[in-house]
């Protein structure tokens, strides 16, 4: 088994907390894991991504080759498209719909949606609205993770455990809020099927 995941977003959107949850769950499943992150200049509002590789065999390359990603999970719609060359023929794109317009020439959002819909396997989700409804916009990341969870190759209950572990120090309320968001994302996926 091997799952290659690209998590995409804009510096400051907190894609690393998504990566951390998947990473912890993978470790608990005794799988090999590589998680390459972007630190430094791009974190100042630039395009950022994390390459995550999960496998039952030893993985050497920290980077995913083009055409190999099973999943592109993006918390920003235009950023999802930036990594298309890495998507495998039967890979999935799961993306949030809320644009981050911190550049002057941000394209027309309907054009972006058209491109996203033209990807064979896509899940387009308004994670921000769902997060707001479940309690807090800040948990939008967990809605995304929930919606993409079936493509991570990791058992859902292990992702729940990881959320508990990672948010533990922030208190029981925060843990519950994030678990609810994760579930809301998963439910969205199930209802779409």
């Amino acid at each position: 088994m091997q799952t290659d995941i690209i998590i995409a977003g804009v510096g400051g959107q907190g894609i690393l907390s998504i990566a951390a949850c998947i990473g912890m769950a993978a470790l608990k499943s005794n799988l090999h894991l590589k998680q390459s992150e972007v630190h430094g200049m791009s974190q100042r509002g630039g395009a950022v991504q994390s390459n995550m590789r999960i496998s039952d065999r030893m993985i050497l390359s920290d980077l995913i080759p083009q055409g190999s990603a099973n999943l592109i999970m993006s918390v920003e719609p235009m950023e999802a498209l930036r990594y298309l060359p890495w998507l495998s023929a039967d890979g999935w794109i799961v993306t949030n719909t809320t644009p981050v317009k911190n550049i002057k020439d941000y394209p027309d959002i309907s054009g972006i949606m058209t491109e996203l819909r033209s990807v064979r396997n896509n899940v387009i989700i308004d994670a921000d609205s769902i997060a707001r409804r479940t309690g807090s916009l800040r948990t939008s990341n967990m809605v995304m993770l929930g919606a993409a969870s079936p493509y991570t190759g990791i058992e859902y209950s292990l992702l729940e455990d990881a959320v508990r572990d990672i948010f533990k120090r922030k208190g029981e309320d925060v843990v519950e809020l994030n678990l609810k968001a994760l579930k809301a994302g998963k439910d969205y996926f199930n209802n779409k099927q």
């Binding site: 390459s36 791009s42 509002g45 083009q66 190999s68 890495w86």
Partner: protein, 533 residues
């Protein structure tokens, strides 16, 4: 023991903590910053007392680590590649003095310049100083090499370099920690003049360094980090250095190539192992993350040898970091690409955070300097370098840390007026202060605008060396206190700030304007911490 999920940087830090390191010295710089940060955040008394504070710059960090080694303790100095330029003087000389306690220099290179001004390859420095260089391919090797490196350093009484690059520094994977070692007890160097580089002593020590080179090559030949795997297909042999080895195996979809392969993780180059490739194969493909240093050595003169391919003959690009696709392409077994990036996708370069004080500082400066003509603002390296981008276009130079003040001085000496420089508080204490002294001594007419956000912002908000003391330092250096002004870069103070900057631009001497407002990232973090307390 439990496995730990660590960045390459953190694996090195953890390795140090477990291998009996007594102190770590560093100046922040992407992609090396997380080494020191890990020690600071995971410090436990169980490992014994470990000194772990940021230094003013890489030179002071290197020298302090050398001083700790002098006492017999194990120490580490960490920096990004260009930081070694700043520390190059003690670095080159430390190879001659040698060390006492184990001494590791960790340098993080940044091929493709993700967050840097250049992509220089620190392995050249290792060769230049004639010391061993270790190059890990994964987090576990990074961890293990710290133990190995300290031992090697103490065996030969030489500094040892661990060279990593961005992808390993910032990639996380599982690391199995080893049993913790006790710290060394102190003991002065057995040779009392070892560290006294008077010519007579330096010549003797240098010859010693030359004499030991053969042994270092033997160490490399027997090193666990250099592996030769024979293969039946001798039409080509592959030498893969550092991370390039990972991409090679990825290109073969996880299998061992049928060609002979030499994986290199320790330098100087093991001649015998290299000979097993060059002596038996018709062609040699050299894969290196960084400059083609090994390729250059193999080619010798003339450099056109058709037998060798790599970055110098276009088989791989001459610049930029490697990745699985580039390596697979060079091997003639490319991966099948996914769909192209749609043309609708725009670049998203980094930008100022909303509410950043640097924005208001640049707005005030731009209005103040309007009318004087273009090309008068020398700047430096930090978040404020983003002032070079639209819509500000506010700065004209960014060369190396500290160069803003000195270049403004040189331009002022040539008659450019006003000659302004914009420098951050951490950059100012890193290497701006000495340039300011030059300007004061020569009465050069410059206006120094210090963007004082009271932190080292660009690298994530580390402690800045002289927070709260910048005015005193400027006055101490000899700037006339009447021309040291502090402004608050906020929109509501804009007009007042423009006036103050304007007056100083007209002044024909050294003036300093400190634009002081806390970095908003640091402020947010501080408020969150205060709330949770």
């Amino acid at each position: 023991m439990d496995k730990l999920m660590l960045l390459g940087d953190e694996a090195i830090a953890r390795g140090g903590m477990d291998a009996g390191m007594s102190g770590i010295y560093a100046y922040p710089g992407t992609p090396s910053t997380e080494i020191m940060e890990y020690v600071q955040n995971n410090f436990s008394a169980a490992a014994g007392n470990i000194f772990c504070q940021w230094s003013a710059n890489e030179k002071t960090a290197f020298e302090a680590a050398l001083g700790m080694s002098y006492t017999g303790k194990r120490s580490m100095a960490c920096m990004k590649h260009v930081g070694l330029n700043v520390a190059a003087d003690p670095f080159m000389n430390a190879a001659i003095t040698g060390v006492n306690g184990g001494f590791l220099l960790v340098v993080a290179d940044d091929p493709s310049m993700h967050s840097s001004q250049n992509e220089q390859d620190s392995r050249y420095y290792g060769k230049f100083a004639m010391i061993p260089v270790l190059e890990p391919i994964n987090q576990q090797e990074a961890y293990d090499m710290v133990f190995y490196g300290f031992e090697l350093s103490e065996k030969y009484k030489l500094p040892v370099m661990i060279r990593i690059t961005t992808r390993l520094a910032h990639s996380r994977s599982a690391v199995m920690p080893a049993a913790q070692l006790k710290q060394n007890v102190t003991g002065l160097p057995s040779d009392p003049v070892q560290f006294v580089l008077l010519p007579g002593i330096a010549r003797r020590r240098y010859r010693g360094l030359l004499d030991v080179q053969k042994e270092l090559v033997t160490e490399s030949a027997n090193s666990p980090w250099n592996n030769f795997t024979d293969g039946s297909d001798k039409s080509a042999g592959i030498i893969a250095c550092g991370l390039a080895y990972n991409y090679l195996i990825e290109a073969y979809r996880g299998k061992q190539p049928t060609n002979p392969v030499l994986k290199i993780g320790q330098y100087p180059l093991p001649e015998d192992l290299v000979g097993k490739i060059t002596g038996t194969c018709e062609r040699v493909l050299v894969l290196e993350e960084g400059y083609p240093i090994v390729e250059e050595m193999l080619r010798g003169f003339p450099v056109t040898s058709a037998k060798i391919s790599g970055r110098m003959d276009g088989t791989l690009p001459r610049d930029g970091e490697l990745n699985p696709d580039i390596v697979a392409g060079a091997l003639g077994m490319p991966f099948e690409k996914g769909p192209a990036i749609p043309s609708i996708v725009k670049n998203r370069p980094p930008s100022f955070c909303a509410g950043c004080g640097h924005i208001d500082m640049f707005n005030a400066l731009l209005q103040s300097i309007d009318g004087y003509g273009p090309g008068r603002v020398f700047s430096d390296i930090g978040c404020y370098t983003l002032g070079a981008l639209e819509p500000y276009n506010a700065i004209n130079t960014c060369v190396d840390m500290g160069a803003s003040i000195t270049m403004a001085k040189g331009a002022a000496d040539a008659g450019l007026h006003p000659s302004v420089c914009v420098i951050g508080d951490s950059t100012f204490t890193h290497s701006g202060m000495t340039g300011l002294l030059d300007a004061v001594n020569d009465r050069s007419a410059i206006t120094v605008l210090i963007g004082d956000n009271s932190t080292t912002g660009m690298t994530g908000g580390q402690k800045s060396s002289a927070t709260g003391r910048i005015e005193d330092i400027c006055a101490g250096i000899g700037v006339d206190p009447d021309h040291i002004k502090v402004i608050n870069p906020l929109k509501k103070h804009h007009d007042e700030n423009v006036k103050i900057i304007n007056r100083e631009l007209e002044y024909r001497g050294v003036s300093v304007v400190i634009a002081r407002r806390e970095c908003i990232q640091v402020a947010m973090r501080r408020k969150k911490e205060e709330k949770s307390r």
